[in-house]
């Protein structure tokens, strides 16, 4: 029954593509939203009833799905976020290709559910790669711009490079345990376990845009806004976090897992925050922030609290999606996503208020829910080492800085105007805002116990000084952000250092120069090598054969009456004769069949005259001699 959770969105996607083409905007919205809500209800029912599913491919390979603490949280958050994003997409996106876009996004939900419900590595891999391919289709959605499809390809290739890690991990698991199931992973040890963990970490890092893979998220910005909203909140990027959280028990058996994960997470969070601070494009700023916040989730997992990562994921999902959606509405009005062109606070005051609440939540300001989950990350990091907590809190300050910058530039007080915002666009954003505000309940006493029970694992207890220090960082960060806006307004022009920082410190061009260019060069050189050398060798031997054949025929003249060539020639002459003399006559006189057969034979035999016969003949002679000699020495065997 649990399979329905996956099939419902996928089949509705197909139906939607088939039937909603050319229909009005809200039809698609309603249909897609309903399908997503239905998926959420199925997940809920599955949690209550304890549904599981399995599907055998062969004797050794069985696909299994099920729900446990962590996966339930993901599986439920996903369709709820997706429902609102889909409703928004139905009215926000251009009518051309809208049905296709909605269908792809719904299919995306199905693939992501498969990934989250998977109880074995093969099922996980299937969902994992499907998500990647669908994101390619989403990013390259408006195909008339060739740059977009190049970006889509880049995003897919980077994440697929990570996928190789998952292939590797699955193969290691099977070779050691004879199965792909998560349960059997406990048997892994030694070198095999190390390889397994390395594969998983590679796959997860690429998917959740950790360093050095982070820049693909920028390429992903070429896609429609609603696709970004979905990719950055509850799907795709969070798949990486889900994976390391889900398999934490097995992964943490390796001593280098914790320092590696914390290190990667902190580095990405730091770099991503700096990138966001210098970004002037609204969507890219949010994208860098996605990398950074997923870095924080990595820190939480590395510190031994996967449940904290899940909690932060949920809070982040419910605020990042609407921020993208709001940026989409703002960008639509402003004509571009450049922050300097916005300042729409008086044009769309409602959205400005919603944006304010959500940016403050993203900044981690008490008493919003996302602040609670971020404090949980700080505390978790502090459980490993105090300086980790300090660094995490400082990164939180940077996060506050770009949040302030985003809000002030996008929705600050600017000139008045009238924007045509669809009711469903603003409605969905407000709904998200309500959830984000409601999450403030996490600060209430007793919420921790409830969350622990819900996620089925323990959460760290806050330390007062850490929370106070962290809040101080947030406030300072907000001030810093305010100041940076003033500076930017005065200076107009960005310095070169800032634009390098804004573009992931040159990492994308490094990837281009080190990987994709050499690879293309290699492909082109090999292709010409293949034509010039490998094939030329063949041509040369053919020429040699021709020469041999020529020699052979000169010598053959001599023996023509005795040798096999004589008989071959005789056959040819006979056939020639048949072809030129008998065949036409037969055609005239016997209209039926046999004539045609002989005619066909004649043309066939005549074909041998065109020089080809020499080759054929030479080969046949060599073959014949060899066969004879083998027969003669047959006793050998």
């Amino acid at each position: 029954m649990l399979w329905a959770t996956i099939w419902l969105p996928i089949l509705s996607a197909l139906a939607l593509y088939r039937f909603c083409q050319g229909r009005g905007a809200s039809a698609g919205s309603v249909a897609a939203g309903t399908a997503a809500i239905g998926t959420a209800l199925l997940v809920g029912a599955g949690m209550l009833q304890g549904w599981t599913g399995s599907f055998a491919w062969g004797a050794d390979i069985v696909l299994q799905i099920g729900l446990e603490g962590l996966s339930s949280a993901f599986a439920l958050t996903l369709p709820l976020v997706a429902a609102l994003v889909l409703v928004y997409a139905g009215v926000h996106e251009k009518p051309l290709g809208r049905a296709r876009l909605l269908a792809l996004m719904l299919g995306f939900v199905g693939a992501m559910e498969l990934l989250v419900l998977a109880q074995d590595l093969l099922t996980l891999l299937i969902g994992w790669e499907l998500v990647g391919a669908l994101s390619w289709a989403l990013i390259g959605h408006h195909g008339s711009d060739a740059r977009k499809s190049a970006h889509a390809r880049q995003a897919f290739l980077v994440t697929r490079f990570g996928d190789l890690g998952l292939y590797l991990a699955a193969a290691v698991a099977f070779s050691q345990t004879g199965s792909f199931s998560f349960e059997a992973l406990a048997q892994l040890e030694g070198q095999a376990l190390g390889l397994f963990v390395a594969g998983i970490v590679l796959a997860a890092a690429a998917k959740s845009a950790q360093l050095p893979f982070s820049p693909w998220l920028f390429s992903a910005m070429s896609g429609p806004t609603s696709a970004s909203a979905l990719l950055h909140s509850a799907t795709m990027v969070s798949a990486g976090v889900y994976l390391i959280a889900r398999l934490y028990g097995e992964l943490s058996a390796v001593s280098w897992f914790a320092p590696l994960t914390i290190g990667l997470g902190l580095a990405t969070a730091l770099a991503g925050s700096v990138v966001a601070i210098f970004q002037t494009d609204a969507k890219r700023l949010l994208a860098a922030s996605t990398s950074a916040h997923h870095g924080l989730m990595w820190v939480a997992v590395g510190a031994g609290y996967p449940a904290v990562a899940v909690a932060h994921f949920i809070a982040h999902a419910f605020l990042k999606a609407p921020l993208f959606m709001a940026a989409g509405v703002a960008g639509e009005y402003a004509g571009s996503y450049r922050l300097t062109a916005m300042k729409l606070g008086r044009v769309m005051p409602g959205l400005a208020v919603a944006g304010l609440l959500m940016t403050l939540a993203l900044a981690g300001l008490f008493p919003l829910g996302a602040a609670w989950t971020k404090e949980a990350v700080v505390t978790a990091a502090g459980h490993t080492a105090t300086y980790y907590a300090v660094i995490t809190a400082l990164i939180g300050g940077l996060s506050a800085a770009y949040c302030a910058r985003f809000q002030l530039m996008a929705f600050g007080r600017g000139p008045e105007g009238m924007a045509d915002v669809h009711k469903l666009e603003s409605g969905t954003i407000y709904s998200f805002t309500i959830v984000t505000v409601a999450l403030a309940a996490l600060w209430l006493p007793g919420s921790r116990q409830w969350l622990e029970a819900m996620l089925d694992s323990s959460l760290p207890a806050f330390k007062t000084w850490e929370v106070l220090f962290s809040m101080l960082c947030v406030v300072l960060g907000l001030v810093l952000g305010r100041w940076s806006v003033t500076v930017a307004e005065k200076r107009q022009q960005e310095g070169p250092a800032a634009s390098v920082a804004a573009n992931w410190f040159g990492l994308p061009s490094l990837g281009r120069d080190l990987v994709s260019r050499p690879c293309n060069w290699l492909a082109l050189s090999l292709a010409s090598l293949d034509d010039r050398v490998v094939d030329r060798g063949l041509e040369a031997s053919a020429r040699l054969g021709r020469r041999l054949a020529g020699w052979n025929s000169r010598v053959g003249e001599w023996l023509s009456d005795l040798g096999p060539e004589g008989s071959a020639r005789f056959c040819q002459n006979a056939a020639d004769y048949a072809g030129s003399r008998i065949e036409p006559r037969l055609f005239d006189e016997l209209p039926l069949g046999t004539a045609r057969v002989s005619g066909r034979l004649a043309t066939y035999v005549r074909g041998f005259q065109s020089g080809m016969v020499h080759h054929y003949y030479t080969i046949a002679v060599i073959g014949f001699v060899t066969i004879l000699s083998i027969f003669a020495t047959g006793e050998l065997f």
């Binding site: 599907f55 055998a56 491919w57 062969g58 050794d60 390979i61 093969l122 299937i126 790669e129 499907l130 391919a133 390619w136 390259g140 195909g143 008339s144 711009d145 060739a146 977009k148 499809s149 190049a150 889509a152 390809r153 897919f156 290739l157 697929r160 490079f161 190789l164 292939y167 590797l168 699955a170 193969a171 099977f174 070779s175 004879g178 690879c519 293309n520 492909a523 082109l524 050189s525 090999l526 292709a527 010409s528 293949d530 490998v534 094939d535 063949l538 053919a542 039926l592 069949g593 045609r596 057969v597 080759h615 054929y616 080969i619 060599i622 073959g623 060899t626 083998i630 047959g634 065997f637």
Partner: protein
């Protein structure tokens, strides 16, 4: 009688066409398609009667032919042969139904196609070594004429190159077959007998040479690098359905032959050299993918990906044959994967070549750079191409993934390093197919294609059937794995 009928019907159809002078082209195509569907139906019936847990070879038919030589008309299938033969029959039916320019010689064209069907299926259904060889060689004749007479570009040159090169392979094969025959006691061409006897076991230098003969013969047919240069040229100049058959059916004869003959009949020698074969396969995987990435001609690009995919198949076979290393489960997984790859590649690459043919019939060119922006103009063509391309790059949910995942996991259990290197191939194929899709369907539509027609009903229906099967195998491969797996176990377990 099922298998004999399977072989006889297309041949009869070809004979009828020779005498059918007054038929119109439409009638001829309809007739040929109908005849081509019959073997498919028969093989599906055979599939239903096949008991995966029964004897290794089933549906056996045997008639004496040249008893003094130990040769007989022997037919029969194991799971792998049945799967590959059924896929081939489907592809032939699709190739017959796909519209093609017959240059006013429809009768001859379809007669050759049906002749080719008989001799192709014969290769997979034979249980007699000599019969296998006869069918194997007759294929060249059928394909030679299809390319030379109905091709474009330099068809005669390409066809001749194809013919001579693969004939050279056949020669090596013939020598090896004769050696195997002579070593058997009593002399026989009966495959079952030869498998049971393992005639060359323990005859060290000679058996190595015989293996070399088989491997060279089948490596040319498959083709493996560096024996592959006949392939791209033949593909580019062949008419689309012939190309689909060439890639989908004829190439499989190389890998199927590897399993049926050297793998089964010379286990010990095969195991000894398995690592070398596996290395050659990995070279093919990477080289094929990289060279494909460097092609600007879509048909050449698809042709080179065949080298990549057939490399995976050979890798699976080599790994399974490495008797002395690795667990039985891993090796059986690899061989199952190789068999599924044969079926998957046939369907997927067959579809891709048919699609390339649709491009040719609309634009008279395979150069990807002159197309572009067709996504909005021809959505059906775009959808089908994208589906086939993603299947070919091994996307889960589609058939190629099932095969490659099996092969990869199996290989990892035996030669982990080779598995790791070979895995890079799926990254390069992803790059090259996405680039192809981008060049054909994205960007601005050039003015000259403003009248570009989407897929016609007859094209679409063939592609839909082939690709639907690709999806079915990708999602629920159980029915295929059931049939193949037990045979793979037999082969891996040594009987």
């Amino acid at each position: 009688m099922i298998l004999t009928a399977t072989l006889a019907l297309p041949l009869l159809g070809a004979l009828v066409l020779i005498f059918a002078g007054s038929w119109r082209e439409n009638q001829i195509r309809l007739f040929a398609t109908t005849v081509a569907v019959l073997p498919l139906l028969l093989l599906i019936w055979a599939w239903l009667r096949f008991d995966p847990n029964g004897a290794m070879f089933q549906l056996v038919e045997e008639y004496e032919w040249v008893p003094s030589l130990g040769m007989g008309f022997r037919l029969g299938v194991d799971g792998i042969a049945l799967a590959v033969a059924t896929m081939s029959a489907l592809l032939f039916a699709g190739a017959a139904a796909y519209p093609v320019e017959t240059k006013g010689m429809a009768r001859q064209y379809y007669a050759w196609l049906l002749f080719l069907e008989t001799v192709s299926l014969g290769v997979f259904l034979s249980l007699d070594l000599l019969l296998f060889y006869v069918f194997f060689d007759l294929n060249l004749v059928g394909m030679y004429f299809l390319i030379a007479r109905w091709g474009h570009g330099r068809p005669e040159y390409s066809a001749l190159k194809f013919f001579l090169y693969t004939l050279l392979g056949s020669l090596a094969l013939l020598l090896a077959i004769i050696a195997l025959y002579l070593a058997a006691d009593p002399h026989t061409f009966d495959m079952r007998e030869l498998i049971a006897q393992q005639p060359l076991a323990g005859l060290a230098p000679a058996s190595g040479l015989v293996l070399l003969g088989f491997v060279v013969g089948f490596a040319i047919k498959t083709p493996l690098v560096p024996f592959h240069t006949w392939l791209p040229q033949a593909h580019v100049d062949a008419p689309a359905p012939a190309s689909a058959i060439l890639a989908g059916v004829l190439l499989k004869m190389g890998t199927y032959g590897l399993i049926r003959i050297p793998y089964s009949m010379m286990e010990e020698t095969f195991a000894q050299y398995a690592l070398w074969l596996a290395i050659l396969a990995v070279v093919s995987i990477l080289y094929g993918a990289l060279v494909a990435l460097g092609q600007g001609d879509m048909k050449r690009r698809i042709a080179y990906t065949s080298i990549n995919h057939m490399g995976y198949t050979v890798l699976g076979i080599a790994v399974a044959g490495a008797l002395l290393e690795g667990s039985e489960a891993a090796r059986s997984l690899a061989l199952t994967g190789a068999a599924i790859e044969m079926v998957a590649h046939g369907l997927i690459t067959g579809s891709l070549f048919l699609i390339a043919g649709s491009f040719w019939s609309r634009g008279q060119s395979y150069d990807m750079d002159i197309y572009g922006g067709l996504g909005s103009k021809a959505p059906k063509l775009t959808g089908m191409t994208a589906l086939a391309a993603f299947a070919s790059l091994g996307l889960p949910g589609l058939a190629g993934f099932v095969a490659e995942f099996h092969i990869f996991v199996g290989t990892f259990g035996v030669y982990p390093w080779l598995a790791g290197i070979g895995l890079l191939g799926i990254l390069i194929t992803a790059a090259l197919f996405l680039q192809m899709l981008q060049r054909l369907f994205f960007g601005k539509l050039p003015a000259q294609w403003s009248g570009f027609a989407d897929l016609h009903r007859s094209e679409l229906s063939v592609l839909l059937i082939l690709l639907l099967l690709v999806v079915v195998i990708g999602v629920a491969p159980g029915f295929l794995i059931d049939v193949v797996e037990q045979s793979a176990r037999w082969l891996v377990g040594g009987g």
